[in-house]
Amino acid sequence: MQTPQLLAMFCGTLLLLGLIAYFLGRSKAARVRASGTSMYAQPDQYAWFAVMSTAGPALAVSAVGAFVMLLLGAEIPPLYLLAGSLVVACAGLAFAMARVRPEFHARQAIERVIRFILAGAAMISIFTTLGILLSIVFEAVRFFQMQSFWDFITGTTWNPGASFLAAAGRADEGASAAQFGSVPLFAGTFMITFIAMLVAIPIGLLAAIYMAEYAPAKVRTVAKPVLEVLAGIPTVVYGFFAAITVAPIIVSVAGFFGFEASFNNALAPGIVMGIMIIPFISSLSDDVINSVPDSMRQGSLALGLTKGEMIRDIVVPAAMPGIISASLLAVSRALGETMIVVMAAGMRPNLTANPLEDMTTVTVRIVASLTGDQEFASAETLSAFALGLVLFVVTLALNLVSVMMIRRFREKYRVNNL
């Protein structure tokens, strides 16, 4: 029999057993109660306890079996495994029926199980982080076994070229050895991030100042969601916009001033990414500026400062940890942004300081080396995981610093809603 059919049969039988458990448990509890004995729980709760003790162990057994098969490669015929689980289910049913007695606390038993299930769900987020870390580290280690770590960090030539020949055991046929120097990739990433920050931080901060300090309530209620729309536009759309609309404009403007710009210049994705990031900076900065205590504003105005001086010299410095925290989050966002650079930035690793030239980024290389039709074990494919590892570490560090900054702000002004 095929595995899907087997699984369907298993689920059907388990469902049936669960139903039987429910009705048996309930009728037994109802009988006990009808005989005049007072019980600790309602008949329904005994019924649910019976269902849980039938299905729970059976599902656990089959899940453990499946994991053993996948992880340890043990050969357990699915039929035996599922049949075994059903036997466990029947045993659980018998056990539960024996427990349906007046002095048994069915409700507390259910409660314990539910608490356990909820805690299990909460563990999934931990497993996700671990999964990301392990998958990246594991493959990155394989990469660093093939390539030297030092060359990866300090090399200035990224030329995966013939690495697939090496993976196929034909290394001597390649014209040149593959080189994985990631410096040009990081240079490109930082250049584009820098351009994005040049756009996003001033506009985002000024917009936040306007909304927090100047805007009438009506403008505020309109402007906030409008800015949020900017954050809600999918990145693939921004990428298309950068490549089709913004890049040609930049090329012609640069041409007008006598510069030569590539159609894959770093400026277009940088500017568009900056616009995408404006709401990240503005909404967090807005919250932070709003939670600067009013007494500081009143005090500074009472000393004769103009409103502009108050904002510049009192409010913004007070809110600075929050603003820096928002900017760091924005930088981490920009570093990891993929679609805009995949569509609008270049593919050529290029170590240059000229934003009008084409350059590539870490995320572009990750995508490029994983979408090719190469064998998974080749150095080029694995290099994506090494780049991913660096990306993970950098963004993690930025996020942690950002969280620490905002916590400092919160403690200083005793704000609870940030």
């Binding site: 987020s125 982080t129 100047y214 089709i244 103009t306 993929t338 679609m339 995949v342």
Partner: protein
């Protein structure tokens, strides 16, 4: 140093001018952001609306014996290059299904070639002068016109722009998001309930909380690496399918749902909890019967917003191979599929200029769906929000 009154008042005026400059600058920044938004939507509308129209021409189709072998022969030589190849290819099949057609000749409105479409819309086209003249003549005779493009919504991807549509990508999006929701919603709500209502305040709980906040800030492409290494290579989930895409997006959406559910749960006043305990509810009964129903609108709002985010996500799906060429609408979560943003990405890479229009059209559809999703979340919040 002594200052005269005039000096001081001049200084004050300068300070006020400076103060006003900051106001205008900050207003200008907001205006700039709004201006960009307007420009962006205008650009997309201008580029994308033509995609909802497609050129059709009226030609004489003769269902001869020869046409059943060589479909090009079904139409006259002068318009042969102007009719969509994809349409002509269907003729032999139609003749097989309907033998009465053999020998018939009729005037029919047929789908025009993509280049004719571009020419009629006034864009650059690859037609030569003779072909342009023929199209002009047809247009004057009322035999060539732009009609509403139903094919864009009913057919899958194609290498011929006039045949390409978003149906298969839309279906892929629906299937993928169903998987995402089925996984992320229960786990997210359960996690939030655990953290808010059950968990003791210890190191372990704090670890989970820090971890969730951190997960929300991890670049989405790393989730793609996770999907590739764990789901595909380790668990052997088939590549390019909605199930692996949905699982990957579910892990990404999880923090959004958890954080918004926790906010919703926290806004339920403690008096409700005390009252429930007071009448003898257990903790789970209190959560299930009182706290969760009250928090549900907030939870739904957060989930819709998370879903909208997942819907626009492309990068992790590229890594797990969901940028496949899918001409047929698939209906199973274990068949290869693509999603709307991935379809947009694929079309954006096509060299044919007619695909720019298709891409923008797809973007307009995606944006419309996203905006209505977010609007429904706002409406839901407004409608059911309770102030205590």
């Amino acid at each position: 140093m002594k200052q005269s009154f005039d000096d001081i008042s001049a200084q004050l005026r300068a300070r006020h001018r400076k103060s006003a400059r900051l106001k205008w600058a900050s207003m200008g920044a907001l205006g700039l952001a709004a201006l960009f938004l307007v420009l962006f939507f205008a650009d997309m509308l201008i580029k994308g609306t033509p995609a909802f129209q497609q050129a059709q021409i009226e030609v004489e189709v003769s269902y001869t014996e020869q046409a059943s072998q060589l479909p090009l022969a079904a139409v006259n030589e002068d318009v042969r290059q102007l009719v969509s190849r994809g349409y002509l290819r269907l003729i032999p099949g139609r003749m097989r299904d309907n033998p009465d057609l053999l020998g018939a000749t009729s005037m029919e409105w047929v789908l025009a070639d993509g280049q004719v479409d571009q020419y009629l819309k006034g864009h650059h086209s690859k037609l030569n002068d003779r072909q342009k003249a023929v199209v002009d003549r047809l247009e004057q005779e009322g035999r060539a016109e732009l009609r509403f493009n139903t094919r864009f919504f009913t057919s899958g991807d194609s290498k011929m722009p006039e045949l390409a549509g978003i149906a298969s990508a839309a279906m892929g999006t629906v299937l993928t998001l169903m998987v995402t929701l089925a996984v992320a919603f229960p786990i997210g709500v359960m996690t939030a309930v655990y953290l808010e209502e059950f968990a003791p305040d210890n190191r372990f709980t704090q670890l989970i909380e820090i971890n969730i906040n951190n997960l929300a800030a991890i670049p989405s492409i790393l989730f793609g690496l996770l999907g590739l290494a764990i789901f595909i290579n380790f668990f052997g989930v088939p590549r390019s399918t909605p199930i692996v895409g949905g699982l990957t997006l579910a892990l990404m959406t999880l923090p959004v749902i958890i954080i918004s559910t926790r906010t919703a749960l926290r806004s339920v006043p403690d008096s409700i909890r005390h009252a429930a305990f007071g009448v003898g509810c257990s903790r789970w009964q209190m959560v299930r019967d009182h706290v969760l129903p009250i928090a549900m609108p907030g939870i739904m709002t957060g989930s819709i917003i998370g879903l909208a985010q997942a819907m626009g996500e492309t990068a992790p799906l590229i890594i797990i191979g969901m940028v496949a060429f899918i001409p047929d609408v698939s209906t199973s979560i274990s068949d290869a599929a693509t999603v709307l943003p991935a379809q947009i990405f694929t079309w954006a890479g096509e060299p044919d200029r007619a695909f720019i229009e298709k891409t923008s059209g797809g973007i307009l559809v995606l944006l419309a769906v996203l905006i209505s999703l977010n609007a429904s979340a706002v409406v839901l919040r407004k409608r059911f929000e309770r102030r205590w």
